[in-house]
């Protein structure tokens, strides 16, 4: 983890229809860290994540204020290229979303979109990405089988591999392990620990324990307010706010 700021969220407000989902949020994401954004349901964690690569554009009726700076450039400004942004700030969803094609084609999809045609280069990228997502050994003999036949945990690692093939700068993970068994979960967490050397990672964990296990820093959101943010160890050991300690110890949420 460096001290360099990768993403800076400034005075950010977010509304669905008339309902305020995120209120006056100020939060920095540092380069090569794993930041977990956690909180009970409907706290705005997923919304915040989706705002970071403008997946929120797909939802009708949303309204935002404030700035989200990626390397100092506001991603909300109209001259931003959204496809480029989403390749740079890539996302893995809660439900695995393999595309209806082969394993190889799933991983090669992103590079092909950006114009890579060289077979050797594609093969190299696919292998490298699947290795990083700790999936290579399980699928190397059946790369051309349909991705839909993989198990849930494998599909999720495939989705991770798929965005790694884009060579992103930031990886967003929205409860990536919520439907997975403990073995798959630990495989994904294992890959995250290696990945943070190269990437900046923001994760919405599916439970408090995961936030504790994987992240360097943790931010606690409650009903759209940022309650506290700090080193994970500190937030968990000595929460400054009573609401944080109540949530972590399971008194509500």
């Amino acid at each position: 983890m460096s001290e360099q700021t990768k993403i800076s969220i400034r005075d950010f407000n977010f509304f669905y229809a008339k309902k305020e989902v995120i209120r006056a949020l100020n939060l920095d994401v540092r380069e090569n860290e794993i930041l977990s954004v956690f909180g009970p349901a409907n706290s705005g964690t997923t919304t915040l994540l989706r705002a970071l690569n403008r997946m929120t554009d797909l939802t009708p009726g949303v309204y935002m204020e404030g700035e989200i700076l990626l390397d100092g450039k506001n991603i909300r400004s109209p001259d931003i290229n959204i496809s480029e942004l989403r390749r740079k700030v890539s996302m893995v969803f809660e439900v695995p979303t393999p595309l209806p094609m082969s394993i190889f084609d799933n991983v090669a999809y992103g590079p092909r979109l950006s114009g890579v045609k060289n077979r050797v280069l594609l093969e190299h990228t696919v292998e490298e990405s699947l290795q990083m997502a700790v999936l290579w050994d399980e699928v190397k003999d059946r790369l051309h089988n349909s991705a839909m036949r993989l198990s849930g945990g494998q599909q999720q690692r495939l989705c991770l591999a798929r965005i790694l093939a884009l060579h992103p700068e930031v990886i967003l993970l929205d409860r990536p392990c919520s439907g997975l068994d403990p073995v798959s979960t630990s495989k994904i967490e294992e890959s995250l620990r290696h990945l943070k050397e190269k990437f900046t990672i923001v994760i919405v964990p599916h439970n408090v324990q995961q936030a504790g296990r994987v992240s360097d820093r943790a931010a606690f959101l409650l009903m759209g307010d940022l309650i506290e943010v700090g080193l994970t160890a500190e937030v968990f050991a000595n929460p400054k706010d009573k609401r944080t300690s109540d949530y972590i110890t399971g008194r509500f949420g």
Binding site: M55, S83, R86, R87, T97, L99, M101, Y109, L113, R162
Partner: protein
């Protein structure tokens, strides 16, 4: 307790009998057609019936090959003209059209399916046929005229089934592709349409079925000549129009020959429908 059982069983058996009778009627018609038609095919010879070039009932010639060619050429024309339009329309409705627009267009397309085929035929005869005669030559009554009319008639089938199969896709699929930096059009082309492939294929096959079976509209614009066509401006006769035109005065072997034509049609339609079923189920 006994009364309740009784009250439950009566509607159950009633519905069963009614459902069965619908099936029975269908089976009876099929059996009837086969009983009427098969002896003639046997008499003429299967090969000579299907591939015979001459249809002259008064002289005892029963060859339906020109009509098979007619059916295939008109259907093919309808597919070439109609399917691209229908698919673009389905993609537009499912992906691009704002809600208010698709709410107008969708019922309008359904309405297209409700127009009686004789009206299509009449319109084709008055409007399309002279247009072809004046600008492209020939008699106007032609494969092209039939193809245009049928292309319009299969639009509702192909559009609505394709659209439904596109809308039935998980929204997550689209999000997944968007998250990889794909644009809307790239997503449609490389993810959504391939994912809805089976439904789209089924819609096309059902459209073909509709085109093959259509009679009234094509009688009016095809010219009905029993000869192999030499261009898309030639008049042809299809299997359906053969029955439609001659059933009024046919008797004896001639009438049986029309039933035999019906058998060929029935078999074609059954094959097409099974293909459609197969492609819908093989997800």
């Amino acid at each position: 307790m006994k009364m309740k059982n009784f009250g439950e069983r009566i509607p159950q058996s009633l519905f069963f009998i009614i459902a069965l009778s619908a099936l029975t009627v269908l089976a009876l018609i099929t059996v009837f057609i086969f009983i009427e038609g098969v002896p003639l095919i046997a008499k003429v010879g299967f090969f000579k019936f299907i591939f015979g070039m001459k249809w002259a009932p008064s002289q005892g010639f029963y060859g339906i090959f020109p009509m098979i060619v007619g059916t295939i050429s008109v259907t093919l024309g309808a597919i070439i003209l109609g399917v691209p339009v229908a698919l673009c329309c389905a993609i537009f409705l499912a992906e691009f059209a704002p809600r208010w627009l698709s709410d107008i267009v969708r019922p309008a397309i359904q309405l297209l399916a409700g127009i009686p085929s004789v009206v299509y035929g009449f319109w084709g005869l008055i409007f399309i046929v002279p247009l072809i005669r004046n600008y492209l030559g020939g008699p106007g009554l032609s494969i092209l005229a039939g193809s245009i009319i049928l292309a319009i008639m299969i639009l509702p089938t192909v559009i609505s089934i394709s659209e439904v199969s596109l809308l039935a896709l998980s929204p997550l699929l689209k999000e997944g592709a968007f998250a990889l930096g794909a644009t809307h059009w790239q997503t449609i082309r490389s993810v959504l349409v391939p994912a809805a492939k089976s439904g789209i294929l089924a819609s096309i096959i059902l459209g073909i079925g509709r085109a093959v079976g259509e009679t009234m509209a094509v009688i009016m614009v095809l010219g009905n000549a029993v000869a192999l066509p030499n261009s898309i401006l030639s008049p042809v006769r299809t299997l359906t129009t053969n029955i439609g035109i001659e059933m009024g005065y046919a008797s004896g072997d001639h009438q049986q020959a029309l039933f035999a034509t019906g058998i060929v049609l029935l078999v074609i339609i059954m094959i097409l429908n099974s293909l459609a079923q197969y492609s819908i189920r093989r997800k």
